[in-house]
Amino acid sequence: MKMTALINIEIYKIFKKWRTYISFIAIGVLIPIIHIAMMIEGEHSLDYMTRNLKQSFIFVGNLLNGYLISYLILNSLVVHIPFLITLVAGDLLAGEATAGTYRILITRPVSRFKITSSKFLAGIFYTCLLVLFLAIMSLGLGILIFGQGELIVIKSSGIIIFARGDIFWRFLTAYAFASLSMSVVAGLAFLFSSLVENAIGPIVATMAIIIIFIIISAIDVSFFQAIKPYLFTTYMNSWRLLFDNPLNINEILSSVLILLGHVAAFFFAAAYIFNKKDILS
């Protein structure tokens, strides 16, 4: 049995389920709402953000543009999008257990490793597709409504203003990075999915871990700050490094490798568990 055929079957199954479209509908509704809000309140918000700077600088050009809105939306990625990812990734294995269809799959002449791999890769495909949809809705629609312009990024270290021609590739890379971050979430949900026979557990467990890690990272206590480098959530926001000038390539690559390591670790752990699992459902 060819892997591509198995992956195609898994993708087909994912997109035949109603729950898959919840994520696309949520993004499809949420992003236009943000755009509408920015049309109404955007100028006011931008004035508020830059109120101190305006005392020293004069801003010209279109600062409230598609890039700025995309940048703001990307900042919410780490909290909101994982939930949408887990809806599908948490169901990949556990959903088969709940439906009793493990028996159909495993009594076929195909290895358990191939079953796990095809499901995982289908889950990653869904994750990337969702991030791509997010990119189209936030960046594409944003540019369509608000046009292009310079991107102003306010960081604790200072303000960076990117020229119009220097932004688009950063966003493309940032969305690619976001796909990797979300693949870690998908991997974690997939791992939990291999352990249980109900999709609710993996969704709740994955979200609980992400929220706990984010809270730990946010608390400014030396103990928590010491463990921060060991939490994968720390690296999920490293797409922001792409909006530094100059770029810290080493830090970006190290974040990419850490996230890839997590994806691989979660996948192999799930594959090992699934390979040893007694199918009792």
Binding site: K16, I104, T107, R108, V110, D278
Partner: protein, 306 residues
């Protein structure tokens, strides 16, 4: 039947926590057999079937299918098996046709539409092939389960309680299908059931298991026919009948007396003689119920398990 062994199980054991689901089980299924795998609920039938299909890893023992160890040749072996394990579950959000198409593809390649429609027709689902499986009744799912076992033209078919949830007509159709598959298409069939009568109608060999262990194994006709009958004579006056019996050689055949029932161990030929003797001595016979000892035994273990 041919002597080539299709399934060989040696010392198979599986424990769930402290419970021995299967305990040192041995069995052999020969090519062309319709092999009845009997036992009350909880006897370990489904656990055994799950181990035969590598859904569960055994704690001990060896399984050989088509002469090869299962754990080393899993994919090759499974490519020649069609199976239903317990209730037939499918992707409810897909049609019957799409389910079979996917199962066929996972099993190794594209199954022609003609073949899918052929198996659907065989189980009487050809008119509902476009309907989503979630709209199917249990009986229809059971039929679809049978259809998926036949999809790849397997040499060995494993059916775990295939008539559960079917109406009498549906049960008969499945039995007829099993006989057809065995006689006309020369398939080897491993049929699990908790109904002795069902196995008796279709199987040539059988095993009875209880608490995960073999109770008896052999040819169905030998096991069922060679054994003595337990014959219950229900009479109007058991005391009079008892004293009558105790005066002659019939007493050696008397097994027990329960209320107005006298239970004898008899051969089929002896029944009319004892009947005549009692009637000639003014004992009214209300009923004569012959039960084979195996049936009696199976009924006992089934009732105690239930």
């Amino acid at each position: 039947m041919e002597n080539e062994k299709v399934i060989e199980v040696y010392g198979l054991s599986k424990k769930f926590r402290e419970v021995h689901a299967v305990n040192n089980l041995n069995l052999n299924v020969h090519k062309g057999d319709v092999f009845g795998f009997l036992g009350p609920n909880g006897a370990g039938k489904s656990t055994t079937i799950r181990m035969l299909l590598s859904l569960i890893n055994p704690d001990k023992g060896e399984i050989k299918i088509f002469g090869k160890p299962l754990h080393k040749n899993r994919i090759e072996i499974l490519s020649k098996i069609g199976a239903i394990v317990e209730s037939p579950d499918f992707y409810g959000y897909l049609s019957a046709y799409k389910n079979l198409e996917i199962i066929g593809r996972i099993s190794g390649g594209e199954i022609p539409r003609k073949r899918i429609m052929e198996v659907l027709e065989l189980v009487g689902l050809e008119k509902r092939y476009k309907s989503k499986v979630k709209t199917y009744s249990h009986g229809m799912k059971q039929r679809l389960g049978i259809a998926q076992t036949l999809l790849n033209d397997p040499a060995l078919i494993i059916l775990d309680e295939p008539t559960t949830g079917l109406d009498p007509q549906g049960m008969k159709e499945i039995r007829d299908l099993i006989i057809h598959l065995s006689k006309e298409e020369k398939k080897t069939i491993f049929l699990s059931s908790h109904i002795l009568y069902e196995v008796e109608l279709v199987a040539n060999r059988m095993i009875i298991i209880n608490k995960g262990t073999t109770v008896i194994e052999g040819e169905v006709k030998d096991l069922l026919n060679a054994a003595d009958l337990k014959v219950v004579f229900e009479v109007n006056d058991p005391q009079k009948a008892k004293s009558l019996i105790q005066k002659n050689s019939w007493v050696s055949k008397l097994d027990s007396i329960i209320d107005n029932k006298l239970i004898f161990n008899l051969s089929t030929d002896e029944i009319p003689f004892l009947n005549r003797y009692l009637v000639e001595n003014s004992i009214d016979i209300r009923a004569i119920v012959p039960r084979r000892s195996l049936e009696e035994y199976f009924l006992n273990i089934t009732e105690s398990a239930g």
